[in-house]
């Protein structure tokens, strides 16, 4: 990564600030980023204006090449954009799996034609992508996947069932792992791409314990996939899948749901548990556990900063992504457990006027909070990765 002079950056910072104030709709100021799949599928008029402006500018994917409509900037410039957005109370409306996982992988493995076809709509935020990976019989053990793609000369014919396909009901395209050789477990998998509007593709939302349906079952029946939508070589999909999963781990390691960040445990405790004469959270046991959790959260952020700094200096931090995902998940789950504990009887509500919006959010977050240690490679899978790939422990 090239280094950028401070003067150069300060000019750029000024340019970014000016452009944001010219283009960001004031009605969206300080609103949470509508990054949930559902919110992105049904944007408001101003959200659309903002997405299109950022998409056209290429600043939603600042470090991707200009050839695809992105900005081709350095990480330092990208950080300036992020900081200026934050300062203006704005958000980056270009996101989702296309940006997080698929795009970086296609840049590495795709043909020129595939990149030219798929990257520009991701850069503009026109298309959302979903990930056809897990299957009913292949969750943590992803390599056992059975969805077949048969070679029919000019196309593949795909049959099978995917599950836990997040956002499938709203996505325009799918990147999907399929079995192209039933006799070779690892070297019999390929990565193919198809539009969700292809006949034979059916997404059925799954209702979760928190009442929402952000994941789908995906049924694939005689789905025709054009051969030019094979990424990488035939039967060479597993290596690409591992790369995709690494991008996913990295993204998940750094993510916390906005709702979890939206309330402070300290403020909740002051309100629901009260304070002692010295102004401390009244229950010393609870206080101690809240503080321990907040300390872990802060150390996690220090670790994310360290990983960023080391990556900038060219260090290999990919080894850290499994550890980061587990650390983040652990801290977040403890946090949501603490939140319902603090709320007491107001922390067990499901719906209705007896509970405030925050109280219900806390409960729903707690319930959904059980998912991150399962998805994106379960906690146990991440520990396997650490012990085998990083620590070199024997099989």
């Amino acid at each position: 990564m090239e280094h950028v002079g401070a003067a150069d950056l300060s000019d750029f910072r000024e340019e970014v600030g000016r452009w944001i104030s010219d283009n960001f709709p004031v009605s969206l100021k300080n609103m949470a980023n509508p990054m949930s799949r559902e919110a992105m599928a049904f944007p408001t008029e101003d959200q659309e204006i903002w997405r299109k402006a950022m998409g056209a500018k290429g600043w939603g994917t600042p470090t991707w090449p200009t050839a695809y409509g992105a900005a081709g900037l350095t990480r330092d410039h990208a950080r300036v954009i992020q900081q200026e957005l934050l300062r203006a109370g704005a958000y980056n409306p270009i996101g989702g799996m296309g940006v997080m996982m698929f795009g970086p992988t296609l840049l590495e493995y795709g043909t020129a034609a595939q990149k030219a076809q798929h990257l520009p709509p991701i850069v503009r935020g026109d298309f959302q992508w979903c990930q056809g990976f897990s299957e009913p019989g292949a969750g943590s053990d992803l390599v056992s996947l059975q969805t077949r793609a048969d070679d029919k000369g000019d196309h593949f014919l795909v049959n099978g069932q995917k599950t836990w396909t997040s956002g499938a009901q709203w996505a325009e395209w799918c990147f999907c792992l399929v079995r192209t050789n039933p006799h070779d477990k690892y070297n019999g998998i390929s990565l193919v791409l198809f539009p969700m509007s292809t006949p034979g593709v059916e997404a059925r939302p799954i209702k979760l314990i928190n009442g929402n349906s952000s994941f789908c079952e995906l049924f694939l029946t005689d789905v025709k996939v054009s051969k030019d939508q094979l990424v990488g070589s035939l039967n060479g999909g597993w290596a690409i899948a591992k790369r995709l999963l690494q991008h996913e781990r990295t993204a998940l390691a750094g993510s916390t749901t906005t709702a979890v960040e939206a309330y402070s445990l300290r403020e909740l405790a002051r309100k629901y548990v009260g304070t002692d004469a010295g102004g401390r959270i009244a229950n010393p046991d609870l206080r101690a556990r809240i503080v321990a959790n907040e300390m872990e959260g802060r150390i996690f952020k220090q670790t994310a900063l360290r990983a960023t700094a080391e990556a900038k200096e060219g260090g290999d931090v990919s080894a850290l992504s499994s550890m980061m995902k587990n650390a983040n998940t652990r801290q977040m789950q403890q946090r949501t457990e603490l939140a319902i504990e603090i709320l007491g009887h107001q922390g067990i509500g499901w719906e209705g006027d007896s509970f405030s919006e925050t109280e219900l959010t806390v409960v729903r977050d707690f319930l959904y909070g059980k998912a991150p240690s399962i998805y994106g490679g379960s906690q146990e899978v991440q520990y396997n990765i650490i012990s085998k790939r990083i620590l070199g422990l024997p099989s």
Binding site: R266, A269, G279, R280, I281, R287, A288, I290, V291, A292, E294, M295, E296, R298, I299, F300, Q302, T303, L305, R306, A309, E310, E313, G315, L320, M323, N326, A327, E380, Q382, Y383, N384, I386, S387, K388, I390, L391, G392, L393, P394, S395
Partner: protein, 375 residues
């Protein structure tokens, strides 16, 4: 690992090389079993001083190199890897900090060059009881025409057996029992009325209890800010000790990994058992987290950041927790051999628990973090 300058990388490599060749853990064991009166090897200390380590945080004007706290942290981390018994932390970091922060020109001229050279060993004497409560000071200093007379007791004085000079916390008789009445005093090791008694601890390092009966002392600096100097000095001490603890924890962990890759039971390398693999992976996670916290604390000390106290408590608590976990697992995963005196696991365990008690344990620092941030 933090982003290092070229000088820092060279310093770390030099420290690592010296530790591996000149002071492997067998050197510590040899010192322990030799009946060494000071509980560190003076020839080894001379070598460390010759490498410039005792002057890393001392300004150039007083014979140091002024390389800073990150650099000192790098050296201490390397020493922690093989449990090097060294007065570096007590003298080169803690006492040097107190004198640099609080001493007047004459005091700095008198002590800092000698500390940087390693020819004088200085140490802070501030603990008085079982619990770490640095503001609880019963030792008194009464002013006279020529100086101060110190009376009282100090406990758990690190390198208290070897020290040529003590920096002693004591209350001046201003009638209040607030922190404002605490001042620091320089007391020579051979001052009449001072007695030191060896404190035998499980880590086989040098500690003493001190008794002062009207002992002549010289106030550090002009007074009025003793508590603030002591508080800042203690935070620097904690950050430095945290770096040493990180080195010990990392080494204890990788020694344990080596064992998992060589020990065979049930016809398998025990490292192939998932019950052990996941515990190993968790330790790796805690070590990476602890490293971030320690580096952030050293950076905060280096920058004199306003949030240094909370970042230091964050680091000491986290590295304490991690070192406790790793040393316990080191014994458990080694099984019976880990319980023997012949094996090094016990040396790590014993040093770990002494470090845990020094300058405030995990509970102290979590509680302090909570107080600072108003929980």
């Amino acid at each position: 690992m933090a982003i290092l300058s070229e000088e820092q990388s060279m310093l770390r490599e030099a420290a690592r090389g010296w530790v591996d060749v000149r002071s492997p853990i067998t050197a510590f064991r040899k010192m322990r079993d030799s009946g060494n009166r000071l509980h560190f090897d003076t020839d080894s200390w001379k070598e460390q001083a010759a490498l410039g380590w005792a002057g890393v945080i001392i300004p150039e004007a007083y014979g140091g190199s002024d390389f800073g706290f990150l650099s000192m942290g790098l050296v201490l981390e390397e020493l922690g890897r093989t449990l090097v018994a060294s007065p570096l932390l007590a003298s080169g970091l803690v006492a040097a900090s107190a004198i640099t922060l609080g001493g007047d020109e004459a005091q700095k001229q008198e002590w800092l060059p000698a500390i940087a050279e390693g020819t004088a060993i200085a140490t802070l004497a501030f603990e008085e009881g079982a619990a770490h409560v640095p503001e609880k000071v019963a030792t008194t200093a009464s002013g006279t025409q020529v100086g101060f007379k110190i009376s009282g007791k100090k406990h758990f004085v690190v390198e208290g057996l070897a020290a040529d000079v003590f920096i002693v916390s004591a209350r001046v008789p201003d009638g209040s029992d607030t922190d404002q009445a605490i001042e620091l005093f320089l007391v020579r090791g051979d001052a009449p009325g001072l007695t030191r008694q060896e404190l035998k601890t499980m880590d086989s390092r040098g500690y003493a209890s001190l008794e002062f009966h009207d002992v002549e002392g010289q106030r550090l600096g002009s007074g009025g800010n003793g508590w603030s100097i002591l508080a800042t000095t203690l935070d620097r001490a904690r950050a430095g000790l945290a770096a040493e603890m990180l080195g010990s924890a990392t080494q204890a962990f990788y020694l344990t990994m080596d064992y998992l890759k060589t020990r065979v039971q049930f016809d398998s390398l025990i490292g192939s058992f998932q019950a052990l693999q996941h515990r190993a992976a968790r330790m790796f996670m805690e070590l990476e987290l602890a490293r971030s916290a320690v580096e952030a604390a050293l950076q905060a000390v280096e920058n004199g950041a306003s949030d240094m106290p909370e970042l230091v408590s964050l680091a000491k608590a986290k590295v304490g927790e991690t070192l406790q976990l790793v040393t316990n697992e080191m014994i458990q995963m080694h099984g019976g051999i880990g319980m023997t005196d012949e094996h090094d696991a016990g040396l790590f365990l014993k040093r770990a628990r002494v470090c845990e008690a020094m300058y405030g344990n995990q509970s102290y620092h979590r509680n302090r973090y909570a107080d600072i941030l108003g929980y």
